[in-house]
């Protein structure tokens, strides 16, 4: 079996050359890669966040709040519509995951039914004989709301991150309610986390001037208003003051078309522009309420509460106050441009690595790999002489092919991944050690060089396959269950096992075979 037909030799050599070409871009800097001809592979190894520095954020979309908001809106809708249709009701409210209302007169059921059906699109409607109506989400509606919430969240998160100028962010959906965000090379992850974490739901509402916040706190709060803190805080972190704000929204942030940070009298402010619907509504509301206060509310906090001096007809305005700095004005403008999240996001997991630590890790990992490689190479020559040199050629080729394969597959190299490479280098020679020991044994049994080498390779084969497959099984399972860096380890180790079997068995066998044919030695230097 040591005679290799020419096509076999050519195939193996071609595979090796191809693998080497795939690895070449890694020794050329990214800028210079563009000089390579188009047909030449140009992919670099993709470095994991633990190596290049950056942030990994796993966020959860609070879907329940979407349901709650929908139910609350439905309650408001029922109140308004029943009043308009003059249907008497009591006990209107959210009960668990449904909206419930009791008709004063059960005979109104037939009048109420079309109203409720239209309001509660995608909901079930039951009206009991005693006049109790109950509306709950259907399963399809729950699924739709969830899907919708996460899709919109991803869209908004992407817009916000793009606005910050982050290079190559990865934003993807994970499971039913989660978003995975990877931000390579981010210097200030706190700011981005801050930006992503805000719902940024802004609206304009009137201040209820019929009572003071103190009175409201004492229990006089009408159902149409709520008590909101100011965004501005005093030294101890408490809100500067409280406002009684109408629940009814004049114009909401959805009607904004643009927002920019700018200056007014040397103070940073945010200027904004409404779309035509918002502009008209705002104009109407302000012209009828001159002298009153309105509040600009962001995520349940009042940014400012200016007096309406005159009707605001131009469809644009500015937001000031709230101790705005240049940076916070920029961020607020960014958030308003990108739009509000449909639901709050919470950070489930965060891993941030500084670029320095990443660079140190690369340096340490590379050093360990090279030193390990050097030690293995020396020991192979000491233990197996000439055959050790052949195994070393296969080993180095293995390293290069592995790099090439990792680059071509755009696999992410992580720090444990580098450890996987180091480990592969040690394990890669195992196949050759098995074969060489076997050849030695065959020689002891009195076989000649050719026959000893031939049966050495043949006999060791099933053992090599068994041994590598068991390792492959555990790495594949690691790949399925591991996350981030650990997955990187599984990738390099399993690819390394595959390339090592190729180089240690196919390539080394061919080199040995060609050498034997050429020199026809009487004894083997083993």
């Amino acid at each position: 079996m040591l005679n290799f037909p020419r096509w076999k030799v050519i195939t193996v050599v071609a595979l090796c050359v191809f693998g080497i070409l795939l690895a070449v871009p890694n020794v050329i800097s990214r800028e210079n890669v563009t000089w390579l001809p188009d047909w030449f592979p140009q992919r670099h190894l993709t470095l994991g966040l633990d190596l290049q520095g950056g942030s990994h954020l796993l966020m959860e979309v609070d879907v329940d709040s979407v349901f709650d908001a929908r139910l609350e809106a439905l309650v408001d809708g029922v109140r308004t519509e029943f009043r308009a249709a003059e249907i008497g009701y009591i006990e209107l409210g959210v009960a668990g995951d449904a909206v419930q209302v009791k008709l004063r007169d059960p005979a109104d059921a037939e009048r109420a039914r079309p109203i409720l059906t239209e309001l509660g699109l995608g909901m079930t409607l039951d009206i009991a004989d005693d006049g109790t109506a109950r509306m709950a989400f259907t399963d399809a509606e729950i699924a739709r709301l969830k899907r919708d919430a996460i899709q919109r969240s991803i869209e908004i998160v992407r817009r916000r991150i793009d606005e910050t100028g982050t290079r190559e962010p990865t934003i993807q959906r994970q499971g039913d309610e989660r978003i995975l965000i990877q931000l390579p090379g981010v210097k200030d992850p706190e700011r981005i986390k801050d930006l992503i974490g805000q719902t940024a739901k802004m609206d304009f509402r009137f201040i209820d001037m019929s009572l003071s916040p103190e009175q409201a706190e004492a229990g006089g709060l009408p159902p149409t208003a709520e008590l909101l803190p100011s965004l501005q805080t005093n030294e101890s972190g408490e809100p500067e003051r409280w406002y009684v704000v109408n629940k009814r929204i004049i114009v909401s942030g959805e009607n904004l078309t643009d927002a920019q940070a700018t200056f007014q009298q040397n103070q940073p402010v945010v200027s904004f522009r409404f779309d035509s619907v918002g502009g008209k509504r705002f104009a109407d509301a302000t012209s009828q309420n001159i002298g009153k206060l309105f509040a600009i509310v962001l995520d349940g906090k009042v940014i400012s509460a200016p007096v309406i001096q005159s009707a605001i007809l131009g469809g644009s305005g500015i937001i000031e106050g709230g101790n705005m700095t240049v940076e916070s004005a920029n961020d607020l403008a960014l958030l308003l441009r990108a739009g509000a999240l449909p639901a709050p996001l919470t950070v489930l997991e965060e891993r941030t690595v500084g670029a320095d630590l990443g660079a140190d890790s690369i340096a340490a990992g590379t050093e360990a790999c090279l030193i390990g490689l050097a030690l293995v190479i020396v020991m192979m020559v000491v233990l197996y002489g000439f055959f050790g040199i052949i195994a070393n050629v296969a080993l180095i080729l293995n390293g290069i092919l592995l790099l090439g394969l990792l680059s071509a597959l755009e696999a992410t190299l992580t720090l444990p991944g580098i450890a996987g490479i180091a480990l592969t280098l040690g394990m890669a020679v195992d196949a050759n050690v098995l074969i060489f020991e076997r050849i030695r044994e065959e020689m002891r049994n009195g076989r000649g060089p050719l026959s000893a080498v031939d049966s050495g390779y043949r006999e060791a084969m099933s053992t090599i396959i068994d041994a590598n497959l068991t390792t492959l099984i555990s790495t594949l399972i690691l790949f399925m269950f591991g996350s981030g860096p650990v997955k990187g380890f599984a990738v390099t180790l399993s690819l390394g096992i595959i390339t090592s079997v190729f180089t240690a068995v196919v390539v080394s066998r061919m080199i040995v075979g060609l050498w034997l044919r050429r020199t026809r030695p009487q004894t083997l230097p083993l």
């Binding site: 997991e349 340490a364 000491v382 394990m427 068994d466 269950f481 650990v486 230097p525």
Partner: protein, 314 residues
């Protein structure tokens, strides 16, 4: 051309089986000790599993940990651990998960940064919430179970069940003592440690498979040889390979341990232990156990099969 170095004589004749009872005792002690350590001392779970906040900071010069602890202690962030991490200026700060929402976690990180000041470099910040922590535990357990199950299936498919059971006993022996070592030394047990343990599982079986292959071959060849002699013969004939391969792999793992940096330190410790214990368990757990597995019956069946398909080897 020079002659390569031979560590062992052409055909070594160590009587491994003579001491197998003593080593069986040692193995049992190690396993029991590991279980007791894991059960009573417990594992020092990293934030991957226990949840919480981890920060790696670098001081401008050698860090004064006592001073840092004082600076942070008043923040009211609950129990905080500080430890030197590799270099004298590097410190690892670990906090428990803060009560309340995510904002509380970010506030805790910000508070620590403010208390320590700007001269520190913040190299790494990790936060794992309880939900994710629980999921990671479940994932890790599944990975372990599936890996062991997968390997067991493969061995069972390739060998007789006696071999499969022993290989798994050896594998569990290796993994359990590795985890036990982590309990003993109080090393951080996290996701990378699980990766290391799974690698050890694969490697342990890799080593065992090589010997088992040989034992099967020799069983066919020497049908009359007593079992202990046969096992000794097989171990001796593969000894050179066992020592050389493990030695070479150990070299690269030790390079990783010494030069691979602090982030990989615990991972490398696990792997180093795994390489050594893997060889030990192959020789003194997986192989001697075959003595108690009535391989005679298996041998007889294999002999019949061998007659049906004549062995063409000389």
């Amino acid at each position: 051309m020079f002659r390569p170095l031979r560590i062992f004589p052409e055909e070594p004749k160590f009587d491994f089986m003579k001491y197998h009872r003593i080593f069986a005792g040692i193995s049992i002690v190690m396993i029991v000790a590991s279980i007791l350590l894991i059960g009573f001392k417990g594992l020092n779970f990293g934030i991957d599993f226990s949840g919480g906040i981890l920060m790696e900071v670098r001081a401008p010069q050698a860090a004064d940990i006592a001073q840092m602890r004082d600076d942070i202690a008043d923040l009211g962030l609950g129990e905080i651990q500080l430890q030197e991490f590799g270099e004298p200026q590097d410190v690892l700060i670990r906090m428990q998960r803060q009560e309340g929402s995510e904002a509380e976690q970010a506030a805790a990180v910000a508070a620590v940064k403010e208390a320590l000041g700007d001269e520190y470099e913040y190299r790494r910040t990790e936060f794992v919430g309880p939900k994710v922590g629980d999921e990671l535990i479940v994932d890790a357990i599944w990975a372990m179970v599936l890996a062991i199950g997968g390997i067991m299936l493969y061995i069972w498919f390739r060998y007789e069940w006696q071999f499969a059971i022993n290989a798994i006993v050896a594998l569990i022996h290796d993994c359990l003592t590795t985890v036990g070592l982590f309990a003993l030394l109080g090393l951080d047990f996290n996701l990378t440690t699980v990766a290391a343990v799974l690698t050890i599982a694969g490697y342990s079986v890799n080593d065992t498979v090589v010997i088992y292959d040989r034992i099967r071959t020799e069983m066919r060849r020497y049908k009359k040889m007593s079992m202990p002699d046969l096992l000794n013969l097989s171990l001796n004939r593969t000894l050179s390979r066992t020592v050389n391969t493990s030695g070479l792999t150990l070299l690269s793992v030790i390079a990783l341990l010494i030069f691979g940096g602090d982030v990989l330190r615990n991972f490398s410790i696990a792997l180093t232990w795994g390489m050594v214990i893997g060889v030990y368990s192959t020789i003194y757990v997986a192989t001697p156990l075959l003595l108690y597995m009535n391989l005679r019956g298996v041998a007889a069946r294999m002999a019949r099969e061998a007659e049906a398909v004549p062995d063409t080897r000389p």
